[in-house]
Amino acid sequence: MAMTNEESPRAAAGNGRIFDLEVSALYYDKFKAVRDVVLTMERRTVTALIGPSGCGKSTVLRCLNRMNDLKRTFRLEGRICYRGKDIYAKSIDPVALRRTIGMVFQKPNPFAMSIYQNVAYGLRLNGYRGNRSEKVEQALRAAALWEEVKDKLHASALALSGGQQQRLCIARSIATEPDVLLMDEPTSAIDPIATQKIEDLMRELKKKFTIAIVTHDLQQARRIADKTAFFYVDTAEGDRTGYLVEFGETQDLFEKPKQKHTQDYIRGVFS
Protein backbone atom coordinates (compact mmCIF):
# COMPACT_ATOMS: atom_id res chain seq x y z
CA MET A 1 0.00 0.00 0.00
CA ALA A 2 1.21 3.43 -0.85
CA MET A 3 -0.25 5.22 2.10
CA THR A 4 -0.85 4.27 5.66
CA ASN A 5 -3.35 6.12 7.75
CA GLU A 6 -0.96 8.30 9.72
CA GLU A 7 0.65 9.53 6.50
CA SER A 8 -2.59 10.29 4.74
CA PRO A 9 -2.42 13.81 3.37
CA ARG A 10 -6.06 14.44 4.16
CA ALA A 11 -5.55 13.57 7.82
CA ALA A 12 -2.69 16.06 7.96
CA ALA A 13 -4.71 18.81 6.31
CA GLY A 14 -3.88 21.94 8.19
CA ASN A 15 -4.40 25.48 7.08
CA GLY A 16 -5.48 24.64 3.54
CA ARG A 17 -2.10 25.32 2.01
CA ILE A 18 -1.27 22.54 -0.37
CA PHE A 19 2.03 23.70 -1.78
CA ASP A 20 4.67 26.08 -0.48
CA LEU A 21 7.50 26.67 -2.93
CA GLU A 22 10.69 28.39 -1.87
CA VAL A 23 12.95 27.46 -4.73
CA SER A 24 16.21 29.30 -5.18
CA ALA A 25 17.30 27.33 -8.25
CA LEU A 26 16.58 24.27 -10.42
CA TYR A 27 19.47 22.76 -12.35
CA TYR A 28 19.89 20.26 -15.16
CA ASP A 29 23.50 19.30 -14.65
CA LYS A 30 25.23 22.71 -14.68
CA PHE A 31 22.47 24.53 -16.51
CA LYS A 32 20.36 26.68 -14.23
CA ALA A 33 16.87 26.35 -15.68
CA VAL A 34 14.84 28.27 -13.12
CA ARG A 35 15.61 30.62 -10.23
CA ASP A 36 13.72 32.40 -7.47
CA VAL A 37 10.27 30.90 -7.31
CA VAL A 38 8.28 31.62 -4.19
CA LEU A 39 4.60 30.85 -4.29
CA THR A 40 1.84 29.00 -2.51
CA MET A 41 -1.12 27.00 -3.72
CA GLU A 42 -4.30 26.84 -1.69
CA ARG A 43 -6.65 23.93 -1.32
CA ARG A 44 -9.37 23.64 -3.97
CA THR A 45 -8.10 26.44 -6.12
CA VAL A 46 -6.75 26.56 -9.63
CA THR A 47 -3.29 28.04 -9.99
CA ALA A 48 -2.10 28.84 -13.50
CA LEU A 49 1.55 29.07 -14.48
CA ILE A 50 2.02 31.26 -17.56
CA GLY A 51 4.89 32.80 -19.47
CA PRO A 52 6.86 32.57 -22.72
CA SER A 53 8.48 29.33 -23.92
CA GLY A 54 11.57 28.38 -21.97
CA CYS A 55 10.61 30.29 -18.85
CA GLY A 56 10.59 27.13 -16.75
CA LYS A 57 6.91 26.91 -15.92
CA SER A 58 6.68 23.23 -16.90
CA THR A 59 9.88 22.48 -15.01
CA VAL A 60 8.37 23.98 -11.88
CA LEU A 61 5.13 22.02 -12.36
CA ARG A 62 7.09 18.80 -12.77
CA CYS A 63 8.79 19.40 -9.44
CA LEU A 64 5.51 19.13 -7.62
CA ASN A 65 5.22 15.37 -8.19
CA ARG A 66 8.95 14.84 -8.65
CA MET A 67 8.64 13.92 -12.32
CA ASN A 68 11.97 15.65 -12.79
CA ASP A 69 13.54 12.70 -11.01
CA LEU A 70 13.40 10.95 -14.40
CA LYS A 71 16.12 13.30 -15.56
CA ARG A 72 19.17 12.01 -13.80
CA THR A 73 21.00 15.33 -13.72
CA PHE A 74 18.15 17.30 -12.16
CA ARG A 75 18.90 19.15 -8.93
CA LEU A 76 16.84 21.44 -6.75
CA GLU A 77 18.05 24.16 -4.40
CA GLY A 78 15.43 25.28 -1.96
CA ARG A 79 12.32 23.65 -0.60
CA ILE A 80 8.99 22.47 -1.93
CA CYS A 81 6.55 21.60 0.79
CA TYR A 82 3.40 19.62 0.23
CA ARG A 83 1.05 20.15 3.17
CA GLY A 84 4.03 21.28 5.20
CA LYS A 85 6.24 18.32 4.33
CA ASP A 86 9.40 18.83 2.27
CA ILE A 87 8.89 16.52 -0.70
CA TYR A 88 12.57 16.65 -1.68
CA ALA A 89 13.63 15.34 1.72
CA LYS A 90 15.52 12.03 1.62
CA SER A 91 12.78 10.23 3.53
CA ILE A 92 10.15 10.89 0.84
CA ASP A 93 9.07 8.06 -1.48
CA PRO A 94 8.34 9.71 -4.84
CA VAL A 95 6.12 6.80 -5.90
CA ALA A 96 3.83 7.38 -2.89
CA LEU A 97 3.85 11.12 -3.61
CA ARG A 98 2.77 10.57 -7.23
CA ARG A 99 -0.11 8.39 -6.12
CA THR A 100 -1.60 11.34 -4.32
CA ILE A 101 -0.71 13.95 -6.93
CA GLY A 102 -2.14 13.18 -10.35
CA MET A 103 -0.81 14.57 -13.61
CA VAL A 104 -2.22 15.25 -17.08
CA PHE A 105 0.20 15.90 -19.91
CA GLN A 106 0.31 18.09 -22.98
CA LYS A 107 -0.01 15.19 -25.38
CA PRO A 108 -2.76 12.71 -24.50
CA ASN A 109 -0.92 9.57 -23.42
CA PRO A 110 -3.38 6.73 -22.81
CA PHE A 111 -1.81 3.32 -22.33
CA ALA A 112 -2.22 0.74 -25.09
CA MET A 113 -5.01 -0.92 -23.11
CA SER A 114 -8.79 -0.76 -23.12
CA ILE A 115 -10.62 2.36 -21.97
CA TYR A 116 -11.68 0.54 -18.81
CA GLN A 117 -8.18 -0.69 -18.02
CA ASN A 118 -6.76 2.79 -18.49
CA VAL A 119 -9.05 4.24 -15.86
CA ALA A 120 -8.66 1.26 -13.55
CA TYR A 121 -4.87 1.39 -13.82
CA GLY A 122 -4.36 3.58 -10.77
CA LEU A 123 -6.78 1.44 -8.76
CA ARG A 124 -4.78 -1.60 -9.79
CA LEU A 125 -1.54 0.06 -8.71
CA ASN A 126 -3.03 0.93 -5.35
CA GLY A 127 -4.38 -2.57 -4.88
CA TYR A 128 -7.91 -1.17 -4.59
CA ARG A 129 -10.19 -4.02 -3.53
CA GLY A 130 -13.60 -2.38 -3.71
CA ASN A 131 -15.92 -2.12 -6.68
CA ARG A 132 -13.59 -1.10 -9.47
CA SER A 133 -16.29 -0.80 -12.13
CA GLU A 134 -18.10 1.73 -9.97
CA LYS A 135 -14.95 3.79 -9.52
CA VAL A 136 -14.24 3.65 -13.25
CA GLU A 137 -17.74 4.86 -14.07
CA GLN A 138 -17.48 7.66 -11.50
CA ALA A 139 -14.17 8.83 -12.92
CA LEU A 140 -15.43 8.71 -16.50
CA ARG A 141 -18.54 10.64 -15.52
CA ALA A 142 -16.44 13.21 -13.68
CA ALA A 143 -14.31 13.59 -16.79
CA ALA A 144 -17.46 14.09 -18.90
CA LEU A 145 -16.60 11.10 -21.04
CA TRP A 146 -18.99 8.44 -19.75
CA GLU A 147 -21.78 9.01 -22.24
CA GLU A 148 -19.37 8.75 -25.17
CA VAL A 149 -17.63 5.55 -24.11
CA LYS A 150 -20.05 3.60 -21.91
CA ASP A 151 -20.84 1.16 -24.73
CA LYS A 152 -17.22 0.50 -25.67
CA LEU A 153 -15.39 0.34 -22.37
CA HIS A 154 -13.35 -2.59 -23.56
CA ALA A 155 -12.31 -1.06 -26.87
CA SER A 156 -8.76 0.21 -27.20
CA ALA A 157 -8.19 3.66 -25.75
CA LEU A 158 -6.02 4.47 -28.74
CA ALA A 159 -9.10 4.47 -30.99
CA LEU A 160 -10.55 7.55 -29.25
CA SER A 161 -10.15 11.05 -30.67
CA GLY A 162 -7.49 13.35 -29.25
CA GLY A 163 -9.94 15.28 -27.09
CA GLN A 164 -11.52 12.08 -25.81
CA GLN A 165 -8.09 10.64 -25.07
CA GLN A 166 -7.24 13.71 -23.03
CA ARG A 167 -10.45 13.42 -21.02
CA LEU A 168 -9.65 9.73 -20.56
CA CYS A 169 -6.25 10.73 -19.16
CA ILE A 170 -8.03 13.07 -16.77
CA ALA A 171 -10.38 10.26 -15.75
CA ARG A 172 -7.38 8.01 -15.25
CA SER A 173 -5.76 10.61 -12.99
CA ILE A 174 -8.82 11.28 -10.86
CA ALA A 175 -10.00 7.68 -10.49
CA THR A 176 -7.75 7.21 -7.47
CA GLU A 177 -9.05 10.46 -5.98
CA PRO A 178 -5.72 12.22 -5.74
CA ASP A 179 -5.31 15.34 -3.66
CA VAL A 180 -3.83 17.51 -6.39
CA LEU A 181 -4.09 17.49 -10.17
CA LEU A 182 -1.17 18.85 -12.17
CA MET A 183 -1.94 19.76 -15.78
CA ASP A 184 0.85 20.52 -18.23
CA GLU A 185 -0.74 22.43 -21.14
CA PRO A 186 -3.64 19.96 -21.20
CA THR A 187 -5.48 21.62 -24.08
CA SER A 188 -2.65 22.72 -26.36
CA ALA A 189 -2.87 19.59 -28.53
CA ILE A 190 -6.65 19.46 -28.93
CA ASP A 191 -9.37 21.36 -30.74
CA PRO A 192 -11.39 24.29 -29.32
CA ILE A 193 -14.56 22.33 -28.62
CA ALA A 194 -12.70 19.68 -26.65
CA THR A 195 -10.80 22.49 -24.92
CA GLN A 196 -14.10 24.03 -23.87
CA LYS A 197 -15.18 20.70 -22.40
CA ILE A 198 -11.96 20.34 -20.46
CA GLU A 199 -12.18 23.87 -19.09
CA ASP A 200 -15.73 23.21 -17.89
CA LEU A 201 -14.39 20.06 -16.36
CA MET A 202 -11.66 21.91 -14.49
CA ARG A 203 -14.19 24.24 -12.92
CA GLU A 204 -16.07 21.17 -11.73
CA LEU A 205 -12.95 19.32 -10.55
CA LYS A 206 -11.82 22.32 -8.54
CA LYS A 207 -14.60 21.59 -6.05
CA LYS A 208 -12.77 18.43 -5.04
CA PHE A 209 -9.16 18.82 -6.09
CA THR A 210 -6.41 21.38 -6.01
CA ILE A 211 -5.31 22.10 -9.55
CA ALA A 212 -2.08 23.53 -10.94
CA ILE A 213 -2.05 24.16 -14.67
CA VAL A 214 0.62 25.29 -17.10
CA THR A 215 -0.87 27.02 -20.11
CA HIS A 216 0.23 29.04 -23.11
CA ASP A 217 -3.28 30.36 -23.53
CA LEU A 218 -3.58 33.51 -21.43
CA GLN A 219 -7.32 33.68 -21.93
CA GLN A 220 -7.56 30.18 -20.55
CA ALA A 221 -5.66 31.20 -17.43
CA ARG A 222 -7.95 34.14 -17.08
CA ARG A 223 -11.06 31.99 -17.48
CA ILE A 224 -10.23 29.23 -15.04
CA ALA A 225 -7.46 30.21 -12.62
CA ASP A 226 -7.95 31.73 -9.19
CA LYS A 227 -4.31 32.65 -8.96
CA THR A 228 -1.77 33.11 -11.68
CA ALA A 229 2.02 33.00 -11.63
CA PHE A 230 3.83 34.78 -14.45
CA PHE A 231 7.28 33.45 -15.37
CA TYR A 232 9.71 35.14 -17.68
CA VAL A 233 13.09 34.50 -19.24
CA ASP A 234 15.48 37.25 -20.33
CA THR A 235 16.88 35.85 -23.53
CA ALA A 236 18.06 39.27 -24.63
CA GLU A 237 20.88 39.25 -22.10
CA GLY A 238 22.01 35.77 -23.08
CA ASP A 239 20.49 34.44 -19.89
CA ARG A 240 18.23 31.43 -20.30
CA THR A 241 17.24 31.04 -16.68
CA GLY A 242 13.54 31.47 -16.10
CA TYR A 243 12.18 33.10 -12.97
CA LEU A 244 8.94 34.05 -11.29
CA VAL A 245 8.07 37.65 -12.06
CA GLU A 246 4.73 38.06 -10.44
CA PHE A 247 2.24 35.95 -8.56
CA GLY A 248 -1.22 36.96 -7.40
CA GLU A 249 -4.96 36.82 -7.92
CA THR A 250 -5.65 36.20 -11.59
CA GLN A 251 -7.82 39.27 -11.94
CA ASP A 252 -5.22 41.56 -10.38
CA LEU A 253 -2.44 40.10 -12.45
CA PHE A 254 -4.29 40.62 -15.71
CA GLU A 255 -5.90 43.97 -14.93
CA LYS A 256 -3.26 45.75 -12.90
CA PRO A 257 0.05 43.94 -13.22
CA LYS A 258 2.73 45.36 -10.98
CA GLN A 259 5.74 44.40 -13.05
CA LYS A 260 6.67 45.83 -16.42
CA HIS A 261 7.44 42.40 -17.92
CA THR A 262 3.99 41.19 -16.96
CA GLN A 263 2.37 44.26 -18.49
CA ASP A 264 4.33 43.88 -21.72
CA TYR A 265 3.62 40.18 -22.03
CA ILE A 266 -0.10 40.47 -21.38
CA ARG A 267 -0.49 43.50 -23.58
CA GLY A 268 1.66 41.96 -26.31
CA VAL A 269 -0.48 38.90 -26.47
CA PHE A 270 -3.76 40.75 -26.34
CA SER A 271 -3.09 43.61 -28.71
Partner: protein, 307 residues
Protein backbone atom coordinates in the same frame (compact mmCIF):
# COMPACT_ATOMS: atom_id res chain seq x y z
CA UNK B 1 -6.18 45.85 -74.34
CA UNK B 2 -5.36 45.34 -70.72
CA UNK B 3 -8.28 42.96 -70.48
CA UNK B 4 -7.00 40.66 -73.19
CA UNK B 5 -3.51 40.40 -71.75
CA UNK B 6 -4.82 39.17 -68.43
CA UNK B 7 -7.43 36.74 -69.67
CA UNK B 8 -5.61 35.18 -72.62
CA UNK B 9 -2.82 32.60 -72.33
CA UNK B 10 0.69 34.07 -72.30
CA UNK B 11 1.86 35.45 -75.63
CA UNK B 12 4.35 33.46 -77.71
CA UNK B 13 7.26 35.61 -76.65
CA UNK B 14 6.57 34.84 -73.01
CA UNK B 15 6.35 31.14 -73.75
CA UNK B 16 9.76 31.16 -75.35
CA UNK B 17 11.14 32.74 -72.23
CA UNK B 18 9.73 29.88 -70.15
CA UNK B 19 11.11 27.08 -72.33
CA UNK B 20 13.63 26.26 -69.60
CA UNK B 21 10.76 24.84 -67.59
CA UNK B 22 10.18 22.04 -70.10
CA UNK B 23 11.57 18.60 -69.34
CA UNK B 24 14.38 17.78 -71.75
CA UNK B 25 16.74 14.81 -71.94
CA UNK B 26 19.19 16.96 -73.83
CA UNK B 27 20.09 18.63 -70.58
CA UNK B 28 23.10 16.79 -69.03
CA UNK B 29 21.81 16.86 -65.49
CA UNK B 30 18.48 15.31 -66.48
CA UNK B 31 20.21 12.58 -68.46
CA UNK B 32 22.68 11.89 -65.63
CA UNK B 33 19.83 11.74 -63.12
CA UNK B 34 17.92 9.26 -65.26
CA UNK B 35 20.98 7.05 -65.73
CA UNK B 36 21.77 6.98 -62.03
CA UNK B 37 18.20 6.08 -61.11
CA UNK B 38 18.28 3.28 -63.66
CA UNK B 39 21.58 2.02 -62.30
CA UNK B 40 20.26 1.96 -58.75
CA UNK B 41 17.24 -0.02 -59.87
CA UNK B 42 19.41 -2.48 -61.78
CA UNK B 43 21.77 -3.07 -58.85
CA UNK B 44 18.99 -3.56 -56.36
CA UNK B 45 17.49 -6.15 -58.71
CA UNK B 46 20.89 -7.81 -58.86
CA UNK B 47 20.86 -8.07 -55.06
CA UNK B 48 17.61 -10.02 -55.21
CA UNK B 49 18.95 -12.48 -57.81
CA UNK B 50 20.94 -14.68 -55.37
CA UNK B 51 17.99 -15.13 -53.02
CA UNK B 52 15.60 -16.14 -55.75
CA UNK B 53 18.10 -18.33 -57.56
CA UNK B 54 18.82 -20.17 -54.30
CA UNK B 55 15.11 -20.63 -53.67
CA UNK B 56 14.55 -21.77 -57.23
CA UNK B 57 17.40 -24.23 -57.16
CA UNK B 58 16.33 -25.68 -53.80
CA UNK B 59 12.76 -26.07 -54.94
CA UNK B 60 13.93 -27.72 -58.15
CA UNK B 61 16.52 -30.11 -56.66
CA UNK B 62 14.92 -30.68 -53.27
CA UNK B 63 11.23 -30.36 -54.02
CA UNK B 64 10.97 -33.83 -55.54
CA UNK B 65 11.92 -35.48 -52.26
CA UNK B 66 9.31 -33.66 -50.16
CA UNK B 67 7.02 -36.41 -48.81
CA UNK B 68 5.70 -37.77 -45.55
CA UNK B 69 8.62 -40.20 -45.40
CA UNK B 70 11.07 -37.31 -45.45
CA UNK B 71 9.70 -36.08 -42.14
CA UNK B 72 9.23 -39.45 -40.44
CA UNK B 73 12.20 -41.58 -41.43
CA UNK B 74 15.84 -41.74 -40.39
CA UNK B 75 18.63 -40.60 -42.74
CA UNK B 76 19.60 -43.25 -45.32
CA UNK B 77 22.87 -45.08 -44.73
CA UNK B 78 25.50 -45.09 -47.47
CA UNK B 79 24.23 -46.84 -50.57
CA UNK B 80 20.67 -47.23 -49.23
CA UNK B 81 17.56 -45.91 -50.94
CA UNK B 82 14.77 -43.80 -49.39
CA UNK B 83 15.09 -42.39 -45.89
CA UNK B 84 14.29 -39.01 -44.39
CA UNK B 85 15.42 -36.30 -42.05
CA UNK B 86 13.06 -36.82 -39.12
CA UNK B 87 15.72 -37.04 -36.44
CA UNK B 88 17.53 -34.00 -37.82
CA UNK B 89 14.37 -31.88 -37.68
CA UNK B 90 13.74 -32.98 -34.09
CA UNK B 91 17.38 -32.35 -33.19
CA UNK B 92 17.36 -28.89 -34.77
CA UNK B 93 14.18 -27.97 -32.92
CA UNK B 94 15.62 -29.26 -29.64
CA UNK B 95 18.90 -27.40 -29.92
CA UNK B 96 17.19 -24.15 -30.92
CA UNK B 97 14.79 -24.61 -28.00
CA UNK B 98 17.68 -25.06 -25.57
CA UNK B 99 19.42 -22.02 -27.04
CA UNK B 100 16.21 -19.98 -26.66
CA UNK B 101 15.70 -21.02 -23.05
CA UNK B 102 19.18 -19.67 -22.34
CA UNK B 103 19.23 -16.56 -24.53
CA UNK B 104 15.66 -15.22 -24.52
CA UNK B 105 15.32 -14.40 -20.80
CA UNK B 106 18.86 -13.05 -20.52
CA UNK B 107 18.50 -11.09 -23.74
CA UNK B 108 15.15 -9.52 -22.88
CA UNK B 109 16.00 -8.62 -19.29
CA UNK B 110 19.40 -7.35 -20.39
CA UNK B 111 17.76 -5.28 -23.10
CA UNK B 112 15.46 -3.71 -20.52
CA UNK B 113 18.45 -2.90 -18.37
CA UNK B 114 20.20 -1.21 -21.29
CA UNK B 115 17.13 0.75 -22.38
CA UNK B 116 15.44 1.60 -19.15
CA UNK B 117 16.84 0.50 -15.80
CA UNK B 118 20.23 2.15 -15.97
CA UNK B 119 21.02 3.13 -19.57
CA UNK B 120 23.83 5.55 -18.83
CA UNK B 121 25.72 3.44 -16.32
CA UNK B 122 29.16 1.97 -16.93
CA UNK B 123 27.69 -1.50 -16.66
CA UNK B 124 25.29 -0.70 -19.49
CA UNK B 125 28.06 0.77 -21.63
CA UNK B 126 30.17 -2.33 -21.07
CA UNK B 127 27.31 -4.76 -21.77
CA UNK B 128 26.24 -2.85 -24.88
CA UNK B 129 29.80 -2.89 -26.17
CA UNK B 130 30.07 -6.59 -25.42
CA UNK B 131 26.79 -7.36 -27.18
CA UNK B 132 27.85 -5.42 -30.28
CA UNK B 133 31.15 -7.27 -30.37
CA UNK B 134 29.32 -10.56 -29.93
CA UNK B 135 27.11 -9.91 -32.98
CA UNK B 136 30.29 -9.98 -35.05
CA UNK B 137 31.57 -13.17 -33.43
CA UNK B 138 32.39 -15.78 -36.10
CA UNK B 139 30.03 -18.66 -35.43
CA UNK B 140 32.85 -21.18 -35.46
CA UNK B 141 34.30 -19.45 -32.40
CA UNK B 142 30.99 -19.84 -30.60
CA UNK B 143 31.34 -23.56 -31.34
CA UNK B 144 34.91 -23.68 -30.05
CA UNK B 145 33.83 -21.84 -26.91
CA UNK B 146 30.95 -24.22 -26.21
CA UNK B 147 33.25 -27.15 -26.97
CA UNK B 148 35.66 -25.97 -24.30
CA UNK B 149 33.07 -24.85 -21.82
CA UNK B 150 30.54 -27.68 -22.11
CA UNK B 151 31.80 -30.64 -24.16
CA UNK B 152 35.12 -30.92 -22.36
CA UNK B 153 33.45 -30.32 -19.02
CA UNK B 154 30.66 -32.89 -19.44
CA UNK B 155 32.82 -35.26 -21.44
CA UNK B 156 30.32 -35.66 -24.29
CA UNK B 157 28.83 -34.03 -27.35
CA UNK B 158 25.25 -33.01 -26.64
CA UNK B 159 22.38 -30.70 -27.65
CA UNK B 160 23.13 -28.81 -24.43
CA UNK B 161 26.57 -27.88 -25.77
CA UNK B 162 25.01 -26.99 -29.13
CA UNK B 163 22.40 -24.89 -27.36
CA UNK B 164 25.07 -22.95 -25.47
CA UNK B 165 26.92 -22.27 -28.72
CA UNK B 166 23.78 -21.06 -30.51
CA UNK B 167 22.69 -19.04 -27.45
CA UNK B 168 25.96 -17.14 -27.70
CA UNK B 169 25.02 -16.10 -31.23
CA UNK B 170 21.37 -15.36 -30.46
CA UNK B 171 21.88 -13.42 -27.23
CA UNK B 172 23.25 -10.16 -28.68
CA UNK B 173 20.56 -10.04 -31.37
CA UNK B 174 17.80 -10.40 -28.78
CA UNK B 175 19.37 -7.98 -26.34
CA UNK B 176 20.03 -5.20 -28.84
CA UNK B 177 16.64 -5.44 -30.58
CA UNK B 178 14.92 -5.43 -27.17
CA UNK B 179 16.85 -2.31 -26.21
CA UNK B 180 15.81 -0.66 -29.47
CA UNK B 181 12.16 -1.71 -29.08
CA UNK B 182 11.95 -0.45 -25.49
CA UNK B 183 13.62 2.83 -26.38
CA UNK B 184 11.14 3.41 -29.17
CA UNK B 185 8.20 3.38 -26.75
CA UNK B 186 7.20 7.02 -26.49
CA UNK B 187 8.36 8.77 -23.35
CA UNK B 188 4.85 10.24 -22.98
CA UNK B 189 3.34 6.85 -22.20
CA UNK B 190 6.12 6.02 -19.79
CA UNK B 191 5.73 9.36 -18.03
CA UNK B 192 2.01 8.71 -17.77
CA UNK B 193 2.65 5.53 -15.81
CA UNK B 194 5.31 7.15 -13.63
CA UNK B 195 2.94 10.01 -12.85
CA UNK B 196 0.27 7.49 -11.81
CA UNK B 197 2.69 6.31 -9.14
CA UNK B 198 3.97 3.17 -10.82
CA UNK B 199 7.30 1.83 -9.60
CA UNK B 200 10.03 1.18 -12.13
CA UNK B 201 9.18 -2.51 -12.23
CA UNK B 202 5.50 -1.68 -12.76
CA UNK B 203 6.35 0.75 -15.55
CA UNK B 204 8.38 -1.97 -17.24
CA UNK B 205 5.81 -4.76 -16.92
CA UNK B 206 2.57 -2.82 -17.35
CA UNK B 207 3.54 -0.36 -20.04
CA UNK B 208 6.94 -0.83 -21.66
CA UNK B 209 6.85 -4.59 -22.08
CA UNK B 210 3.40 -4.85 -23.71
CA UNK B 211 4.09 -1.87 -25.97
CA UNK B 212 7.52 -3.11 -27.01
CA UNK B 213 6.46 -6.75 -27.31
CA UNK B 214 6.10 -6.92 -31.12
CA UNK B 215 9.56 -5.40 -31.51
CA UNK B 216 11.01 -7.81 -28.97
CA UNK B 217 9.40 -10.79 -30.72
CA UNK B 218 10.88 -9.60 -33.99
CA UNK B 219 14.31 -9.78 -32.42
CA UNK B 220 13.62 -13.22 -30.98
CA UNK B 221 12.45 -14.55 -34.36
CA UNK B 222 15.47 -13.11 -36.14
CA UNK B 223 17.71 -14.71 -33.54
CA UNK B 224 15.88 -18.04 -33.94
CA UNK B 225 16.35 -17.98 -37.68
CA UNK B 226 20.03 -17.22 -37.21
CA UNK B 227 20.37 -20.06 -34.72
CA UNK B 228 18.45 -22.59 -36.82
CA UNK B 229 20.73 -22.14 -39.79
CA UNK B 230 24.11 -22.34 -38.05
CA UNK B 231 26.32 -25.32 -38.86
CA UNK B 232 29.84 -24.69 -37.63
CA UNK B 233 29.01 -24.38 -33.92
CA UNK B 234 27.06 -27.65 -34.04
CA UNK B 235 29.91 -29.58 -35.69
CA UNK B 236 31.95 -28.89 -32.58
CA UNK B 237 29.26 -29.47 -30.03
CA UNK B 238 26.71 -32.09 -30.96
CA UNK B 239 28.21 -33.65 -34.09
CA UNK B 240 25.65 -35.96 -35.70
CA UNK B 241 23.66 -39.08 -35.04
CA UNK B 242 21.93 -41.49 -37.39
CA UNK B 243 19.34 -42.37 -34.77
CA UNK B 244 16.36 -40.83 -33.07
CA UNK B 245 16.88 -38.82 -29.94
CA UNK B 246 17.12 -41.24 -27.02
CA UNK B 247 15.79 -40.68 -23.54
CA UNK B 248 19.18 -39.44 -22.48
CA UNK B 249 19.64 -36.25 -24.45
CA UNK B 250 23.28 -35.84 -23.43
CA UNK B 251 24.43 -37.60 -26.59
CA UNK B 252 25.51 -36.63 -30.08
CA UNK B 253 22.37 -35.47 -31.87
CA UNK B 254 21.40 -34.87 -35.47
CA UNK B 255 20.55 -31.45 -36.87
CA UNK B 256 19.45 -30.23 -40.29
CA UNK B 257 22.51 -28.07 -40.80
CA UNK B 258 25.01 -30.83 -40.03
CA UNK B 259 23.00 -33.33 -42.06
CA UNK B 260 23.26 -31.04 -45.07
CA UNK B 261 26.97 -30.58 -44.42
CA UNK B 262 27.60 -34.34 -44.21
CA UNK B 263 25.37 -35.55 -47.03
CA UNK B 264 26.34 -32.91 -49.54
CA UNK B 265 29.88 -34.33 -49.49
CA UNK B 266 28.54 -37.86 -49.97
CA UNK B 267 29.29 -39.80 -53.16
CA UNK B 268 25.85 -41.43 -53.03
CA UNK B 269 23.08 -39.88 -55.11
CA UNK B 270 20.37 -40.71 -52.58
CA UNK B 271 22.18 -38.96 -49.73
CA UNK B 272 22.77 -35.93 -51.97
CA UNK B 273 19.07 -35.79 -52.79
CA UNK B 274 18.22 -35.92 -49.09
CA UNK B 275 20.67 -33.05 -48.49
CA UNK B 276 18.84 -30.98 -51.11
CA UNK B 277 15.47 -31.73 -49.52
CA UNK B 278 16.82 -30.90 -46.05
CA UNK B 279 18.18 -27.60 -47.41
CA UNK B 280 14.77 -26.73 -48.76
CA UNK B 281 13.13 -27.53 -45.41
CA UNK B 282 15.73 -25.48 -43.52
CA UNK B 283 15.37 -22.49 -45.83
CA UNK B 284 11.59 -22.63 -45.53
CA UNK B 285 11.84 -22.66 -41.72
CA UNK B 286 14.26 -19.73 -41.68
CA UNK B 287 12.23 -17.81 -44.25
CA UNK B 288 9.04 -18.29 -42.24
CA UNK B 289 10.72 -16.97 -39.11
CA UNK B 290 12.20 -13.98 -40.92
CA UNK B 291 8.96 -13.05 -42.64
CA UNK B 292 7.10 -13.50 -39.36
CA UNK B 293 9.58 -11.18 -37.68
CA UNK B 294 9.16 -8.55 -40.37
CA UNK B 295 5.37 -8.73 -40.20
CA UNK B 296 5.57 -8.17 -36.45
CA UNK B 297 7.90 -5.21 -36.76
CA UNK B 298 5.61 -3.67 -39.38
CA UNK B 299 2.74 -4.06 -36.96
CA UNK B 300 4.76 -2.26 -34.28
CA UNK B 301 5.46 0.56 -36.68
CA UNK B 302 1.81 1.04 -37.60
CA UNK B 303 0.51 0.78 -34.04
CA UNK B 304 3.07 3.39 -33.04
CA UNK B 305 1.94 5.78 -35.74
CA UNK B 306 -1.68 5.32 -34.67
CA UNK B 307 -0.77 6.11 -31.07
Amino acid sequence: MSETTTSLPPSSSEEEGLAFLDRSLARPRTLFDLCMSGLCGLFSLAAAVPLFSVLFMLAWRGGARISVALFTELPPAAGMEGGGIGNAIVGSLLVVLIASVISVPIGILGGFFLAEIDPESRTAALVRFGAKMLTGLPSILAGVFAYTAVVLLTGRFSPLAGGVALALLMLPIIMLTTEEAVRSVGSEVKEGAVAMGATQTQVVWHVLFPTALPGILTGVLLALSRGAGETAPLLFTMTFSDYWLSRNPMEPTASLAVLIFNFSKSPFENQKAVAWAASLVLVLIVLTLTIGGQALSRRTATSRSVA
